[in-house]
């Protein structure tokens, strides 16, 4: 294992920012290569945890001579934000994952992104560990955007239950996955966990999925159990259950629950009087893939996302 700084950046007053990478396997290996990116935001603790756990795991596997290809892991891109409870770049609040492919002569986060992206070019596969950008907590899923250069088949080797395969939003053209794909890396994101906390079950699942991917893609010489046959779903297969009222949100199910039509999913209580404002009923049978994960809910917020084979209601292809 080689551990080294990919990016260093001096600060006016803090210790320098260091983005560290961990390289496993021989640099001139002819085997396939993969880069794995951990926390890009300061609240992506699950992503940091999984990435650092992979570093520990791969160190042991390297000692056993099991690394065939080349694996590069970057556990934390935005350590400055992680170290102070910020989500974004602490000075100007820009989101590092909105700065790709970066610009070497541009502003600070554009420069960080440019230097990072320069080191990420040329890998066969790119794994981006992401958290939700809203208050949702979901079953771990793969997010694969349709840039025209995506590779659905390789993603199936993760063996995860759901691959969310959809067109990209304009805003995503500034994100790593889109740009990495354009530079011929088979990049995808794994979205999981509740931001700001550690969800051990989801983290274990993602860790196992990545090890399976490395094994099946010939990067790691190690046999693992088969995973799921992935369900590839588009926005039309997701039913959105919205809160018609705001208040205290009590969920009666959890992500991954198989629910029936008519089942009670949750209730919303008046935050002052305690009266029940809404009982949320499932309009269809399916799997709860995501649910709102904050105890206070806003009116019209998406409380639950239900994946189902049959189309049922509230279809909005713009929502993810």
């Amino acid at each position: 294992m080689k551990r080294f700084d990919i990016v260093t950046l001096e600060s006016p007053n803090r210790a320098p920012l260091r983005i560290e990478g961990f390289l496993f396997g021989e640099e001139n290996s002819e085997g396939p290569s993969v880069a794995i990116i951990g926390a890009m935001s300061g609240d992506h603790i699950n992503q940091l945890y999984v990435a650092s756990g992979l570093v520990d795991y791969l160190r042991a596997k390297e000692e056993e001579g099991k690394i065939v290809g080349r694996i590069f892991v970057i556990p934390a891109v935005n350590a400055y934000a992680l170290n102070m409870g910020e989500k974004n770049w602490p000075l100007d609040k820009t989101d590092l994952n909105m700065m790709f492919p970066g610009y070497a002569q541009g502003e600070t986060t554009q420069r960080i992104a440019a230097r990072l992206f320069e080191t990420l070019k040329g890998y066969d596969y790119g794994v981006i560990l992401e958290g939700r950008r809203d208050q949702g907590m979901c079953l771990p899923y793969v997010k694969l955007i349709q840039s025209g250069y995506e590779d659905l088949e390789s993603v199936k080797d993760l063996g995860m239950s759901f691959i969310y395969y959809r067109p990209y939003d304009p805003i995503e053209t500034a994100m790593l996955q889109y740009n990495w794909q354009l530079w011929a890396t088979k990049a995808f994101s794994i979205v999981f966990g509740k931001n700001g906390a550690i969800d051990q079950g989801s983290c274990d699942e993602v860790h196992t999925a990545i090890v399976r991917f490395l094994s099946k893609r010939g990067i790691l010489d190690f046999q693992v159990f088969e995973g799921h046959t992935s369900n590839v779903i588009d926005p039309n297969r997701i039913t959105l259950i919205k809160a018609s009222r705001a208040g205290i949100f009590i969920s009666k199910v959890h992500s991954g629950s198989h629910i029936k039509k008519g089942e009670v999913l949750g209730v919303i209580l008046d935050a002052l009087s305690g009266e029940k404002r809404e009982k949320m009923i499932s309009p269809c049978e399916g799997i709860v893939t995501c649910q709102y994960a904050h105890p206070l809910i806003f009116q019209n917020s998406i409380a639950f996302r239900i994946a189902s084979i049959e189309l049922c209601c509230q279809i909005d292809p713009k929502s993810n």
Partner: protein, 314 residues
């Protein structure tokens, strides 16, 4: 007297509604409609003052109103009242969320509500104040694809600079792009600095608004004599980025005409007392952006100069 209405309400969890208010002034002679918008970013307050000035003028001149004038001083009302640029709770830039969706999270619902409320306006003026880091002269920024339609309108606004820039895909998520897409001619004004208020620029833009409304038949007044803005196509914009971290101390005033090679400022070390870098103008021209917040990292934007590569001042 304008009619104050709540045009969008979204229930918040604990005994409060998120709301967007507008004040509508309606004449009888025309159905033309303009929306004057401020506060999409909660830390930008110059537009609030412009809204006040416009409302004050309209209250004093009700007989001059022909069309419909809608004033929206505070789109991101949660942000404005808490010195927060983004939408609080979600920490999302509202101006990267358009056109929004009813079925998405709060910022997207706000964006969707804003678009639907303003749908049908002939014109919209979206007033921004840069951010807390930069001070800007009054300017309008226009995507190249909208140049033919919007530059003639921008020239009526009594601003100093019209900046036509290349289309950037990410800007398709802005209010202006969403409104231009549905047929409302929308201009984005940038002026001043975040979290502060400058009276001069407010009055300057008020004259511009009155002028554009006179031209569009929304006000029954003679067009005003306004300044003709510098057009970006006659020159180029040079960016000044910090070469090192430190404390930026400007040596130039905002909006100054400077020569190539002039010292714009210095980056210094508060710890060692050293001067770390001298910030030199790469071209001559007008210093139309200057950094207002002194702490800088490598790459932090210190200023922008509009001028000619030959070094001649404009």
């Amino acid at each position: 007297m304008g009619v104050i209405e709540e045009v969008l309400t979204i229930e918040l969890p604990v005994g409060e509604n998120f709301r967007i208010q507008r004040c509508r002034y309606k004449g009888e002679k025309s159905t033309k409609r303009i929306s004057v918008v401020s506060g999409i970013h909660g830390d930008e307050l110059e537009g609030q003052y412009v809204c006040f000035l416009l409302g004050q003028w309209l209250r004093e001149n009700p007989d001059k109103i022909c069309g419909i004038i809608d004033i929206y001083p505070a789109i991101n009302s949660l942000g404005i009242d808490s010195i927060t640029r983004s939408v609080p709770f979600y920490d999302v830039d509202l101006n990267r969320t358009f056109p929004g969706s009813k079925n998405d999270f709060l910022p997207a619902q706000i964006a969707d509500g804003v678009v639907n409320v303003m749908r049908g306006s002939d014109l919209a003026i979206d007033i921004h104040s840069s951010n807390v880091f930069l001070r800007e002269i009054p300017q309008v920024r226009i995507a190249k694809s909208q140049e033919k339609v919007l530059v003639p309108l921008a020239n009526l606004l009594n601003i100093d600079f019209v900046w036509v820039h290349d289309a950037v895909t990410v800007l398709e998520s802005t209010f202006a792009h969403a409104m231009n897409t549905i047929g409302t001619k929308t201009l984005v004004v940038e002026m001043g600095v975040g979290m502060r208020l400058g009276k001069t620029y407010g009055h300057q833009l008020l004259d511009g608004l009155l002028n554009i409304m006179a031209h569009e038949g929304i006000l029954d007044i003679e067009p005003l004599e306004v300044r003709f803005p510098i057009q970006s196509h006659v020159g180029e914009v040079a960016y000044l980025n910090a070469a090192c971290p430190g404390l930026f101390v400007p040596d130039m005033d905002h909006c100054q005409i400077i020569e190539k090679g002039s010292v714009v400022g210095h980056i210094v070390s508060a710890l060692s007392g050293e001067v770390l870098d001298e910030v030199i103008a790469p071209i001559g021209g007008m210093l139309f952006t200057i950094r207002a917040y002194p702490i800088v990292y490598e790459g932090s934007l210190l200023g922008r100069i509009f001028g000619k590569t030959s070094g001649d001042a404009q």
